[in-house]
């Protein structure tokens, strides 16, 4: 049997911690979260693969480390409905609707129709004061988008951690909106080859 190798990308879980720590200091760092939106799409559209999910996803590596190596996962079976296409695609549509709402609110702030909200909203419900991470002087829509994106990243991280704790370590991957989207792209590009 092959000896288990420690690849460099096994340590990408550190990026998750760095990202959320930076956003706690200065909200503008939240823009770096767009990396997790763009890279999977580049791999899927350009390469027709899910290499980002398979190797380079910092969240996936974080869940693997916490769930498998640290042993925090209860490893229960996920309910069937959570693994079904209706939930996976439904969650993807909801997630991207929330993402486009962030862009819309940023546009409202940029157009001076609405004032900036210096808060992070967790689970689309609970507003946490986050005002120390923002100082005026920048075009308001820029920090507004950062607050929104950080809220979305933090919310999805919480859901991913809860799923990891209850179910198998990488249960989030089953209904991850980016994973579902990139698999859909890969399926559209896939041409079966006879062996």
């Amino acid at each position: 049997m092959k000896k288990q190798q420690r690849h460099w990308y096994y340590y990408l879980w550190i990026w998750s911690i760095i990202y959320f720590s930076l956003g706690f200091v200065n909200i503008l760092f939240a823009w770096l979260g767009l990396i997790s939106f763009c890279l999977p799409l580049i791999f899927a559209i350009g390469g027709g693969n899910k290499l980002f999910c398979n190797r380079y996803c910092d969240r996936g590596q974080f869940l693997r480390v916490m769930g498998s190596q640290v042993g925090l996962s209860l490893r229960r079976e996920m309910p069937e409905w959570m693994k079904g296409k209706a939930f996976r695609y439904g969650f993807m549509v909801f997630f991207f609707a929330m993402f486009f709402n962030i862009i819309y609110v940023s546009w409202l702030v940029g157009s001076e129709i609405q004032g900036i909200q210096e808060a992070v909203t967790v689970l689309w419900t609970f507003q946490l004061p986050w005002n120390w991470t923002y100082s005026a002087g920048i075009t308001p829509w820029v920090p507004q988008f950062a607050f929104g994106l950080y809220s979305l990243m933090l919310t999805s991280e919480i859901i991913a951690i809860v799923a990891m704790l209850i179910y198998k370590p990488r249960s989030w991957c089953v209904f991850c909106p980016m994973g579902t989207l990139t698999q859909t792209i890969c399926k559209a590009k896939y041409v079966p080859t006879a062996k």
Binding site: M78, K168, R170, V174
Partner: protein
């Protein structure tokens, strides 16, 4: 070609989310993700240990006795 193991992993491609967890834990490197769509074991390499089935979050893998 070597002798095939009596047991082997079988992937339900409709359930598979191509996350790559199986490929990551496979001790023989038998699992590959085909074009980001589904996982597929290389029959010659698969020893039917069940590590992939144990870790698969989508429960898309089972270990069967070869027919």
């Amino acid at each position: 070609m070597g002798k095939l193991s009596p047991r082997h992993a079988v992937v339900d491609s409709n359930m598979c989310v191509a996350c790559g967890t199986c490929a990551d834990v496979c001790p023989t490197g038998a699992m590959e993700i085909v074009s980001g769509v589904f996982a597929k074991p290389t029959e010659e390499k698969c020893v039917g240990c069940g590590m992939c089935a144990k870790e698969c979050p989508a429960s898309a893998i089972r270990v069967e006795v070869r027919s």
